[in-house]
């Protein structure tokens, strides 16, 4: 008998007023009992809408059936067929707009907690399983992957499983891309990312750090001199955007990329880190995406008394995941909605002292379908802050484009690639993730990496 409860098993979390002072993971994960109970809520529909909703097409009902039977390792194997990073996806995927959005149980009541079950299965495996993955039989053909974020790791994993000799080239000193420099420890512990990367290495994937492709080596060199028959570019989002308002270069103004990199990659929150960070008391984070939520919640954990999200539209238009917004609110982040910054104010020593904002109201829908915010005349006001974090997106990094002849890009800089295959304008060169789409999600990047892996396999098989 299925479990007909209308509600999901609740995710155990650290209490809000405890967790906003530490960097340990917020969500604690299902117990075995909760997982068994939640798995029984799945109706095993014939047409499996959830699978269609998943960018990497995990056979969701099949893995949930194994969970319900208590065969957790079997469940893991099913997920692993489609996903190289289950412990990551179970934590950071926006399930509410993907698999869970189309779950039949969601029509009346809450959908099955698919993401939570995925996380349970992956964590259980990581904790207990000592089984090494089967070494795929090598086919001796070399593929290069540029970037070790979610797109690159997925592409590398899929190709390695097919027997290719894969090398990942990472620009930073540590592999993981946005999973290590961007997403904070309390949402995605770095030990979990490391574990996923280690399992790729066990599959035979090589990771070369400190390799800025476009500088140290070019795509052409990889193919002509180093013998890589195909290249996948998953170099991620690039240069942080600023608003071009006065005061953006004052001391205490960060891009979210810089702030998060200092905190996450360089561990500035730890006592023994050599990387400094501004000891801010009052912080304004400009923007409303997941990155803005991450930055705000990090600032709070670093000891800021007041942290504001300044966003020019209303709550309904916030692009961040609902769960992230709720967590931020619980932790005491103050939302200044329908407000837009016009200037950052500083003292004579170039230190930030405040942010001048103007109130907005929503007008007609714009090209994105969201109602366009319009300034209210004479509504300027100042929020006293000593730190501002700009989290309004990124534009693609030009390093690869400018050093790869014949690689076509959009006017805004994104690499032009076929949506289904990742094929670029250059033969043998494929691309996917934020480098193609502009800033998006981990799972969409993984989907692109996966599609490109099968396209590369097809290309090299037919070559």
């Amino acid at each position: 008998m299925p479990n007909m409860s209308l509600k999901k098993n609740e995710m155990p979390t650290q209490a809000a007023d405890v967790r906003n002072k530490n960097f340990s993971e917020v969500a604690l994960g299902y117990s075995e009992e909760q997982a068994l109970d939640e798995a029984k809520r799945c109706l095993h529909c014939k047409n499996k809408p959830c699978v269609t909703g998943c960018p990497v097409r995990i056979d969701i009902p099949e893995f949930i059936a194994k969970v319900a039977q208590g065969e957790f390792e079997e469940a893991y194997k099913i997920i692993q067929r489609s996903s190289s990073l289950p412990a990551v996806c179970g934590r950071v995927c926006p399930q509410e707009t993907q698999c869970e959005q189309v779950c039949v149980r969601g029509i009346k009541g809450e959908p099955v907690g698919i993401g939570r079950l995925e996380r349970f299965v992956a964590d259980r495996h990581n904790e207990l399983s000592r089984q090494k993955p089967d070494q795929p039989k090598g086919n001796g053909r070399k593929v290069a992957v540029v970037g070790s974020g979610p797109a690159g790791l997925t592409c590398a994993g899929d190709l390695a499983k097919k027997g290719y000799s894969v090398t990942i080239f990472e620009a930073l000193h540590l592999a993981g891309g946005v999973l290590v420099y961007g997403i904070p420890e309390f949402r995605l512990p770095k030990a979990i990312v490391q574990k996923e990367i280690d399992s790729l290495k066990e599959l035979g994937v090589r990771v070369e750090t400190n390799m800025v492709i476009g500088k140290v080596l070019s795509i052409d060199e990889l193919m002509d001199e180093y013998g890589y028959e195909a290249v996948f570019i998953g170099s991620g989002a690039g240069l942080p955007k600023f608003m071009r308002i006065p005061g953006e270069n004052l001391k205490g103004v960060y891009s979210a990329n810089e702030f998060l990199t200092r905190v996450n990659l360089m561990k500035a929150y730890k006592q023994d880190s050599w990387t400094p960070i501004h000891n801010a008391k009052r912080v304004a984070v400009v923007g409303g995406g997941n990155v803005a939520m991450d930055a705000a919640r990090c600032a709070k954990r670093l000891g800021a008394q007041e942290v504001y999200i300044v966003y020019r539209r209303s709550l309904a238009e916030l692009p961040a995941r609902k769960e992230e917004v709720e967590h931020a609110m619980e932790e005491g982040i103050v939302f200044k909605l329908l407000n837009n910054p016009t200037e950052i104010l500083g003292d004579d020593k170039f230190n930030v002292t405040g942010i001048k904002c103007v109130e907005m109201e929503l007008g007609e829908p714009d090209s994105s379908g969201r109602r366009r915010p319009v300034e209210k005349n004479g509504s300027e006001f100042i929020i006293d802050v000593d730190c501002v974090i700009m989290s309004i997106g990124t534009s693609p990094n030009p390093l690869i484009k400018s050093t790869t002849k014949g690689l076509e890009t959009e006017s805004w800089g994104g690499i032009i690639a076929d949506e289904a295959t990742g094929q670029t304008s250059r033969k043998g060169v494929f691309a996917g993730g934020d480098a193609v789409t502009g800033a998006a999600t981990v799972i969409l990047a993984m989907g692109a990496g996966k599609n490109a892996a099968s396209a590369i396999d097809k290309y090299l098989t037919e070559k």
Partner: protein, 280 residues
């Protein structure tokens, strides 16, 4: 891991190291920089390439011991390794078509001014080198500059060596003597570059400065190194580090450079104490 194949103390606070990094040595050009981490816990620090040997596959860096990380780096000896070394990053210094150039270096900035001096000299340009130091004990690369220039002016603040005075005094003298420079290239403390630019503005001589901003990734991802050039925000790591000195907002840049000064002083003291404890 990257091997330190040579280490030489140029003066009590400035050290030269040659690092085994063949891929970087193959491509490096004057004006570009590298980022290194001394060990696994280290911060990422940018240093401009001081020299390179494409045959040996080595890259030379010259650094001043100013903070915790450079102290730790200086503690390494020949034959030891550093954790990370990545580059060449940034744009190379533009040298095409230059026939007569004054290169103005100050302090440890001379280490960065040297490779472009050498390159211009090799390209057949007439190079005047003006190098300035606080005092005699801090002079570096004197012979190297002499060999790579047709005229060299060595200045010290206290007159203990060379001519007493500032680099701007020497530059002004050379210009007043009738030297017509296609360009002035200046690398050194921000305050020095600011005043070199003020001077060359009066004579309307194009001036290139090398900006050594605070950086993390060095590839354009974090935006930490941004500065205002001609009213626009530029990233030193990908747009620079060279910029038109007459357009740079030096006051803002100097303020930004001081962002973590207190932290750095404390961290440096902490490292010194640790190292002292180790020696005991």
């Amino acid at each position: 891991m990257y091997k330190i194949v040579k280490k030489r103390e140029l003066n009590p606070t400035v050290t030269l190291m040659e690092i085994d990094a063949p891929l970087i040595a193959k491509k490096a050009e004057p004006g570009q920089f590298i980022i290194l981490r001394v060990d696994d816990q280290g911060e990422r620090i940018p240093l401009t390439v001081a020299d390179f040997d494409r045959n040996k596959g080595t890259v030379t860096i010259i650094f001043q011991i100013v903070g915790a990380s450079t102290e730790l780096l200086n503690h390494k000896v020949e034959g030891e390794y550093i954790a990370d070394f990545v580059g060449p990053l940034g744009q190379a210094t533009h040298t095409d078509g230059l026939k007569k150039v004054a290169v103005v270096g100050g302090g440890v900035g001379c280490a960065i001014a040297y490779p472009v001096t050498k390159k211009l000299h090799q390209l057949g340009a007439e190079v005047h080198a003006i190098v300035g130091f606080r005092t005699k004990d801090l002079v570096i690369l004197e012979d190297e500059f002499k060999a790579a220039s047709s005229r060299m002016e060595l200045m010290t603040d206290d007159g203990s060596y060379g001519t007493k005075g500032l680099v701007t005094d020497a530059l002004k003298k050379l210009i007043e003597e009738g030297n017509q420079y296609d360009e002035v290239i200046t690398i050194g403390p921000l305050i020095m570059m600011k005043f070199v630019c003020k001077l060359t503005q009066q004579y309307n001589i194009k001036t290139t400065v090398s900006m050594n901003s605070i950086m993390i990734d060095g590839t354009g991802m974090c935006g930490c190194c941004r500065l205002t050039v001609g009213g626009k925000t530029k990233f030193a790591c990908v747009d620079g580090p060279d910029f038109d000195g007459h357009l740079v907002d030096f006051d803002e840049t100097m303020a930004r450079a001081s962002t973590y000064r207190d932290f750095e002083i404390k961290a440096h003291e902490h490292v010194c104490n640790l190292l002292k404890a180790e020696v005991k």
